[in-house]
Structure formats: C-alpha cells, structure tokens
C-alpha cells in the first residue's frame, strides 16, 4: 500500500511537470500548426533564471517562478516574432530552425551561467511521512500548482473572449480573420502564454532536476511523447497524457527498471495505432 501510494505520488508529481511543459507545445501546435522544439530549451532557461532569482539574489520562490516564466515567455516570443512567423505551414523548416534555436539558447546560457549544473532548489522544504517512508513536500506542492494552472488555463481558453478567439483560430483561421479579429496579436499572446507556462514548469521542475545545459534535450523527448499520447491542442489531453506517462514511468522504473522506457514507447505506439490523433485530441 505504501509502495502504491508513493509510486502514484511520484507519477503524478513528475507527470505534472511534464504537463506544464507540454501545454505550451500543445497550444502552439493546435492553434498555429507550429512545432517549437526549442520548448525544452525555454524550460532550461527558466530553470537557470529561477536559480538566479531564488538562490543567487535570494528572492522568494514564487517570484522566482514568475521571473522564470516571464523569461521563457520573452525568449519564446522572440523566436516566434523573429523566425517562426515566417515559417507557417512549413513543418520541416520549423523543426530545423527550432532545433537550431536549442543550440543557440544552450550556448547563450553557457555564456551567461557557465557550464556547471545547479543543484535542485525549492521554496517548499521538508518532507512528511507516508508509512515508513518520508515524502518531499515540494512534490505535493507541484501537484497543487499544476492543478491550479490546469483550471486557470482551461478557464482562460473556454470561458473568456481571448480563449474563444484562440479556439476560433484553431478551428477556422480564415473565417476568424474575416470577422475582423486581429488573430496575429492573439496568436503571439497565445505563444507567449505557452512559453510562459513552460518557464513555470522549468522552475517548478528544478526542485527535482536542478538546472543544467542538457535539460533542453532530455525533457523535450518526454514532452513530445506526452503530446502524442494526449493529443495536440487539448489541455485535458495534455493532462491525461502526462499522467499516463508519469505513472507508467513511476511504476515501470520501480517494478521493471530495465523496461520502463520500453513500456513508455509501447504505450505511445499503441495509441498512435489505435487513435493517431492522441487520447483527447481537440476536435474542430
């Protein structure tokens, strides 16, 4: 029972970090048809900015999370305005350019923060007992923050005028523009939002992972798996996909460590075969 509880918490908390990272990918791919592979690099930049704010400058942790989000949002916006807006509907070019952005962002980070990784840092210290084991408080806080952001983004997309425009743009871009809506502005606002949330994920994730220059790549692969499993353009899909992957990862490593990654890919392949658009892909 203790093992099941801890493994579930592990799966959900790690899945929540993946969820926050994947939301941005999901929105931009669903809304604009833009695949931004530099999303993982934004996660990394935010982790370093969060470290600078929280550890080096001694600011409080929520402020560090906010600053990390803003930094990632601004870098993402620069990528969108500078590069991606010229490459709409050119998926191959988007992939090549955004992979290039990973290298550029990583090397700029090397220049700014140096090559050494930063140890994990958190605003939620302490642990609490579960059976005979202790469990880190920050992991439970991660679950709470993830859920709050899930409901906030869902409200934003489903209950506000901005969200209605975003959804209309996803469904029928030409008609939305024809109605006199400035979709361009909404588009880059949505892009900023996606990158901002990836930045929040970076600082939240740094509680477990710390900050290092390899994060841009290592976390990206998991985010893409979540995107495939959950389906693009859907907040609920991103949440479900990340919970599935997080839980498989937690139980897989604990029970059959040599095959944990294998199971993750098997699930992805099965879902691609049975439901190629993902579990909860957004329907137009």
């Amino acid at each position: 029972m203790e093992f099941v509880a801890i493994s579930l918490l592990n799966g959900i908390s790690f899945g929540m970090v993946l969820f926050l990272l994947t939301i941005g990918l999901s929105i931009t791919l669903g809304l604009m048809g833009t695949l931004n592979l530099a999303h993982g690099a934004l996660f990394m930049v935010a982790a370093f900015v969060g470290w600078t704010a929280s550890v080096k400058l001694g600011l409080n942790y929520p402020l560090a999370v906010l600053l990390g989000g803003i930094a990632a949002g601004l870098v993402g916006l620069a990528i969108e305005r500078g590069l991606l807006r010229h490459l709409y509907k050119q998926l191959n070019e988007q992939v090549v350019v955004t992979i290039g952005c990973i290298y550029i962002i990583t090397n700029l980070s090397l220049w700014v923060w140096g090559g050494a990784g930063r140890t994990p840092f958190t605003g939620f210290t302490g642990s609490f007992p579960i059976g005979g084991m202790m469990y880190p408080a920050h992991r439970v806080a991660t679950i709470g923050i993830g859920l709050i952001l899930f409901f906030a983004i869902r409200w934003l997309l489903e209950k506000t005028r901005l969200g209605a425009i975003v959804r209309a743009g996803m469904d029928d871009k030409e008609t939305t523009i024809g109605l006199g809506i400035n979709l361009g502005r909404v588009t880059y606002l949505a892009f900023f939002l996606g990158c901002f949330v990836a930045g929040i994920a970076g600082v939240i994730g740094a509680q477990m992972l710390g900050a290092n220059l390899a994060m841009g790549w290592s976390i990206l692969l998991l985010a893409l798996i979540v995107l495939v499993v959950g389906g693009a353009g859907s907040i609920q899909g991103a949440l479900l996909g990340s919970m599935v992957i997080g839980t498989i990862n937690a139980f897989g490593i604990a029970l059959v460590p040599d095959f944990a990654r294998f199971f993750m890919y098997v699930v992805m392949i099965i879902i691609l075969m049975v439901k190629p658009t993902g579990l909860l892909a957004r329907k137009a």
Partner: protein
C-alpha cells in the same frame, strides 16, 4: 710603387668577389624552430562543459610552468570541442587535430562515448594519447596501445571505498545505484567487490540511465541496508543526492559517493550543511596537506583567481605526463620514442607519485577517502584516510541484482 698599389687593389677585389660569390662562408641564417604540437579534445559545450574548461585550464597551467617550451622548442596547444557526449564530434576533433594541425601528442577526450568514438582512430594513427580523467572503461594490454589512461580507473576508487565502508565505517550490508553504462558498471562493481572482499554483503544493485532525471521511483523500492553507494555524474548526481535527502534516507542509510568528481565544494555549499559527513573516494582534493599540493593550489589560485577543481588537477597532471614524454624523448619526438618515454615512468604530482606500468597500460596512483566537513564556515572535502599506492583493478560487468549476496 705603382705596381705594389695595383697588387693590393687586385687582392682586395679578389677577396671581395670571393665573399660575394660565397667562397668565404657568411654567418648562417637562423632556421625557425619547429614547435611541438599538442592537441586536446575537451567538452567545452554540453552538460559537462565545466569539465572541459577545467581540463583546458589545467593543461595551460602545466605548460605555463615550463614557459611553453621544452628542450628549446616551443609548445603549441590546440583545443577542440566534442560537446560532451558526441562521439562523432570527438572523432572529427581528433581527425582535425591529427590531420590538419599535425599534433605530436593528443589529450582526452573526457566522456566515455567520445573515448570509445576515437579509440580505434587513435590506434590506427598511432598517436600517443593521454587521458584527461580517470577511465571508466578498463583496458588491459596484450601489447602497448596508444591510448594511455594517465589517471587510472574508477575501479581503483570504488574498491578502496568498499573496503573502507566495511572495515572503518562498520557497514555490513549495502545497496548500490550505478549509471547504466560502462563507468557505472566499473564503479558499482568495484565498490561491491571491495565491500564483499572485506566481508560485507551487497543486497541490491540499481541501475539508471546516465541521463535520468526522476529519482522518486528508484527511491520507492530501495531496500533497507546499512549504506548505499552511488555513482552518477553531473546533474544526475546532484538530483540523486537531493532526492536521497528529501526521501528521508540521509540519516538512516548513509550515502557514499563512489566518485565525487562532479560534486565540488561549491555544490556541497549549495546543498547546505546537511551534507556534512558525506563520504567519497578520490585521487585528489584541494585540501590535501602536502607541500607539493599547497604550492600547486597557491600558484593556481594566483593565476586564475580560484581554487582548482577536479578537472583542473587532472588536466595539470596530464600536462606533467606530456612533459615527461617530451623530455624523455629528447630530440626524437616520433610516436614510438614518445611512447617509450612514458612506459614505466613515475612522476611527482600534487596528488603524490604516479607510476605508469608499461606492461599493462596501468597507473599506480594514491587514493584518498574523503569526507564533507565544515571548516572555517565553508563546506570542504577533507582527507580521512590515505592509500598511498593503489594498483591494478579488476574488470567488472553489469551484474543482476542480488549477485553480490553470493
């Protein structure tokens, strides 16, 4: 009188013409001295870029000690990046250094993947190559090759720590967490062997990919033991240490680091004083209390404004090995002469004396058990036990959990 004047004039004209036509030798022109070229493959970008930067510093410091000159010939250092784990880039870097720059000696690479990517090329080209770090991959020689492990192997550290854990710390059971590749197998395997040989029992061996980022699931199933020995690198090691503490294992099941090479004193400081008491095994720490080391640390600090970290010292020791090769080879710096100068030689270093055994491609090296301690308000690694000369280690393969209970 007139004839005498004409004879003198003719004699002067004759001498002048002889000088002009070269019959009387003029002073020889100074021929340019060919520099000795040394190439280094360092990870200057990627996850371990701090390591490459340190190796480069150490090499430069070692060559600066002899004013970048050996036997009247200037030294030139060429450094190429391999982006930490990229074996293709490492091979390209080796080719550029050898085929474009024409280096006489190679240094590095550092990471295992790069080492494996360049190994065959180095042997085919017969370029004397010195490592910039201890090696995870164990190689015994049928006959001398060209890739010299100048700093020994991880297995020398792991075995010493395993013995110390049983004999001095009094642990009787242990679990291990190893990086799931060659260096991890050597590290966890040698610890297990040292612990077992002393009388202990390793009841669980966990393996995780060297890029693992989520340690919660591993901690959920770790078995109760007297201690846990871990070998991971870079950020993986940092996040593992933190998770061990946060999951409440720190006090009830002490952690032993099979190598501290990516856990610097600044990292101990960043973790906090709860790391006090953490044990590890290494060939070097800056606090080593010997005159040679104190001089090295002081000189290094004067030059770079910071204390040396692990890659700095190992880069420096590699430079000492290169100097030994070049001084031993004298005027003949062909590859065979350089190799012969290295075999069976001993150098004095801030670490202590290191001997290279030519018959097996192996170094005997001092080894230290170290402990994280707060000294003068700062977290430092302090030597608690010294093994002056640790020799050849065994070869280990990945073992299924439970093997070490025997």
């Amino acid at each position: 009188m007139k004839n005498k004047f004409l004879v003198i004039l003719l004699a002067l004209m004759l001498v002048t013409s002889l000088v002009i036509t070269g019959c009387i030798p003029a002073p020889a022109p100074v021929e340019p001295v060919e520099p000795i070229k040394i190439g280094a493959i360092c990870c200057l970008t990627g996850d371990m870029s701090f390591w490459g930067a340190g190796s480069k510093r150490g090499l430069e410091f070692g060559f600066a000690e002899v004013d970048w000159e050996i036997a009247g010939r200037p030294l030139e250092l060429f450094v190429e990046d391999d982006a930490t784990w990229d074996e293709v880039m490492a091979l390209e870097a080796a080719r550029k250094l050898v085929e474009v720059h024409g280096v006489d000696i190679l240094m590095g690479p550092i990471a295992s993947s790069s080492y494996l990517g360049t190994g065959s090329y180095i042997d085919v080209m017969k370029i004397p190559t010195l490592g910039l770090c201890y090696r995870g991959e164990f190689e015994t020689w049928e006959e001398p090759t060209w890739n010299f492990s100048a700093h020994g192997a991880i297995a020398q550290r792991g075995y010493a720590l395993g013995q110390y854990a049983y004999e001095v710390l009094g642990f009787r059971t242990a679990t291990t967490m190893g990086a799931d590749y060659e260096t991890g197998y050597q590290g966890a395997g040698s610890f297990s062997d040292g612990f077992y040989d002393a009388g202990g029992s390793v009841i669980q061996q966990q393996w995780a990919p060297p890029t693992e980022i989520e340690w919660g699931p591993y901690n959920a199933v770790v078995e109760d033991a007297d201690c846990t020995a871990v070998i991971q690198y870079g950020s993986c090691m940092h996040s593992y240490i933190k998770s061990w503490y946060e999951f409440g294992f720190w006090d009830k099941q002490p952690l032993l680091l099979i190598t501290p090479c990516t856990v610097f004193e600044s990292d101990l400081e960043a973790f906090g004083d709860w790391t006090t008491g953490l044990y590890s095994a290494t060939s070097y720490v800056t606090t080593l209390d010997t005159p040679a080391n104190q001089k090295f640390v002081a000189d290094f600090e004067a030059m770079y404004g910071q204390k040396p970290i692990f890659p700095d010292i190992w880069g420096y020791v590699s430079a000492l090995w290169a100097r030994t090769m070049l001084e031993g080879a004298g005027d003949d710096i062909t590859n065979y002469a350089l190799r012969d100068a290295l075999l069976d030689s001993t150098i004095e270093t801030p670490i202590g004396p290191i001997t290279f055994h030519g018959d097996e491609g192996w170094t005997t090296i001092p080894m230290y058990i170290i402990q994280a301690q707060q000294v003068g308000g700062e977290m430092t690694w302090q030597v608690v036990e010294a093994y002056p000369a640790v020799g050849k280690a065994k070869y280990y393969t990945k073992m299924p959990p439970g093997t070490w209970t025997r």
